[in-house]
C-alpha cells in the first residue's frame, strides 16, 4: 500500500481501576492519543469473568495506541514494572497507517 507508513500498534489489556494510571503512563511516553475498548469477559489463570459483575473491580479494558517505534518502545518499557504485579497483557503489532505524520 503506497500511501501507508509503518507504525506500531500497542494493545494493552488492563483492569478498569488501573485505567487512569496506565493512560497517564501512555501519555507520558509521548503517545499522541489512544483509544479504549471495553472487554465483555474472559478467562485466565484466575478463572473466568464476565462484564455483568456489579463489582467493576474486575472489568477489563483494551487500550490501543498507534505510535512510532520509539514511542511504542517507551510505552512498553514504562509499563514493564507493572506487568507482573498488575497482570497486564501488552501486545505490539506492526501496522500500516495512513496520515503517518500524525503519530
Amino acid at each position: 500500500m503506497n500511501a501507508s507508513i509503518e507504525r506500531v500498534k500497542v494493545e494493552i489489556l488492563l483492569d478498569a481501576p488501573l485505567c487512569d494510571l496506565v493512560t497517564r503512563m501512555v501519555e507520558e511516553a509521548g503517545a499522541g492519543g489512544y483509544t479504549i475498548l471495553l472487554a465483555l469477559g474472559g478467562s485466565g489463570r484466575n478463572g473466568r469473568w464476565r462484564e455483568d459483575r456489579v463489582t467493576g473491580a474486575d472489568t477489563k479494558l483494551l487500550l490501543l495506541a498507534v505510535a512510532a517505534d520509539d514511542i511504542a518502545e517507551a510505552i512498553v518499557r514504562g509499563l514493564e514494572p507493572l506487568l507482573d504485579s498488575y497482570r497486564l497483557i501488552v501486545m505490539t503489532t506492526r501496522v500500516g497507517v495512513v496520515r503517518g505524520d500524525k503519530f
Binding site: 483492569d15 481501576p17 488501573l18 494510571l21 484466575n46 478463572g47 473466568r48 469473568w49 464476565r50 462484564e51 455483568d52 459483575r53 456489579v54 463489582t55 467493576g56 473491580a57 474486575d58 514494572p81 507493572l82 504485579s85 498488575y86 497482570r87
Partner: protein, 317 residues
C-alpha cells in the same frame, strides 16, 4: 421464618438458581448499575429527609463513633483468622480483612427493608454511619499488609482519594445532604419514584445479585473449605459484636440491629477496586468469592434475620 419468604429473598434465590442451572439469563451491566444508583439515591434521600425531621440527635453521634470503631477494629480478628485458619499469605489476608471491615450497601438496604417489614425501622441517620464505615477498613488493611502502597507509582493519597470519592460514597452522602436540604416538602415532589418503586426495584436488583453471587461462586477456583467456613463465621461474629455493642451503648433496638448488619456485611465493590490498585498481588478471586459468593448470600437469607433476632432478644432481656 417469614422473611425467607419475602419477595426480595425469593428473587435473590431465583437469580442464584438460574445461575446454578446455567440458564442463559443475564441482566445487562448498565441495568444493574442503574438499579444500584437508584437504590443509593433513594436510601440517601430518605435518610436525609428523616434526619431533617428528627434533627441531629446524640444517638447519631454515638452510632457514628461505634461504626468508625468497628470498621477500624474488625479487620484485626479477620486478618488473624484468615492467616491461621485460612492459611493465606499476609497480603491476601490483609485484603480479605479489609473487605470484612468495610460494608456492603446492598446488604444494608436489604436489611433495612427486612427490619421495616418486621417492626419499627432503623433511624435515617444510619445511612451516614454506612458511609463512614466504607473507608477506614481499607487503611487498616493496607497497614496489615505492612507495606507502603507505592506499587507502580500509586501513592497512598491516590488510593485514599479513590476510596473516599468512590461512586457509592458520593451518591449516598450527596443524596443524604440533598434530602437534608430539601426536607419533607422538597422531597414530596420527587417522592413517587423513590418511594413507590423502591421495593420492586430492590427485588429486581436482588435477582441480579443472586445471578452474580452464584456465578462468582461456581466460577471461582480458589475457595477452600476453610475459607468458606470463615466467610460464614466472620460475618456472624461481626454481626453479633456490632449488635451487642449497639445495644450496650444504648442505641435503640432497630439501630443496634442495623449496626450489626453493617458490621456483618462485607464490601464487594469499593474495597476490591481499592485493593486492585494498592495490593495488586492479592488474589482478588479469593476475596470476592468469599464476600460476594458466600457472605452476601448468607447475610441476605439467614444473617439479617439472625442479627435482628439477636437485637430484640437483648432488648427483651
Amino acid at each position: 421464618m417469614t422473611t425467607l419468604l419475602s419477595p426480595m429473598v425469593l428473587f435473590f434465590g431465583l437469580g442464584a438458581l438460574a445461575a446454578f442451572a446455567r440458564s442463559g439469563l443475564t441482566i445487562p451491566e448498565a441495568v444493574g448499575k442503574a438499579m444500584a444508583i437508584y437504590l443509593m439515591v433513594a436510601i440517601g434521600l430518605k435518610g436525609g429527609v428523616a434526619v431533617a425531621a428528627e434533627g441531629f440527635t446524640p444517638d447519631l453521634a454515638l452510632a457514628a463513633v461505634l461504626g468508625l470503631t468497628l470498621s477500624v477494629v474488625l479487620p484485626l480478628p479477620a486478618f488473624w483468622l484468615v492467616r491461621r485458619v485460612g492459611q493465606q499469605s499476609a497480603i491476601d489476608a490483609a485484603a480479605i480483612a479489609a473487605h470484612y471491615g468495610s460494608v456492603s450497601v446492598v446488604t444494608f438496604v436489604a436489611g433495612i427493608e427486612i427490619l421495616k417489614l418486621a417492626g419499627p425501622p432503623a433511624s435515617g441517620s444510619m445511612i451516614a454511619v454506612l458511609a463512614l464505615m466504607e473507608t477506614p477498613a481499607i487503611v487498616v488493611g493496607l497497614l496489615l499488609a505492612r507495606r507502603a502502597t507505592k506499587a507502580g507509582g500509586i501513592t497512598a493519597g491516590r488510593i485514599l482519594h479513590e476510596t473516599l470519592f468512590n461512586g457509592s460514597v458520593v451518591l449516598l452522602v450527596g443524596s443524604f445532604l440533598i434530602g437534608l436540604a430539601v426536607g419533607k416538602e422538597g422531597y414530596t415532589q420527587i417522592a413517587p419514584v423513590f418511594e413507590a418503586g423502591f421495593r420492586g426495584i430492590l427485588c429486581l436488583f436482588l435477582l441480579d445479585m443472586g445471578l452474580i453471587a452464584a456465578r462468582r461462586l461456581s466460577e471461582t477456583r480458589s475457595l477452600t473449605l476453610q475459607l468458606t467456613g470463615l466467610a460464614l463465621a466472620i460475618p456472624i461474629m461481626n454481626g453479633l459484636v456490632g449488635t451487642l455493642l449497639g445495644a450496650m451503648t444504648g442505641l435503640g433496638t432497630p439501630d443496634a440491629a442495623a449496626l450489626g448488619i453493617l458490621a456483618a456485611s462485607a464490601s464487594y465493590i469499593a474495597v476490591p477496586a481499592a485493593m486492585r490498585m494498592a495490593l495488586p498481588e492479592a488474589n482478588s478471586g479469593t476475596s470476592l468469592a468469599m464476600s460476594l459468593g458466600v457472605t452476601f448470600p448468607f447475610n441476605v437469607t439467614f444473617g439479617i434475620p439472625l442479627y435482628i433476632w439477636f437485637a430484640r432478644s437483648i432488648a427483651g432481656s
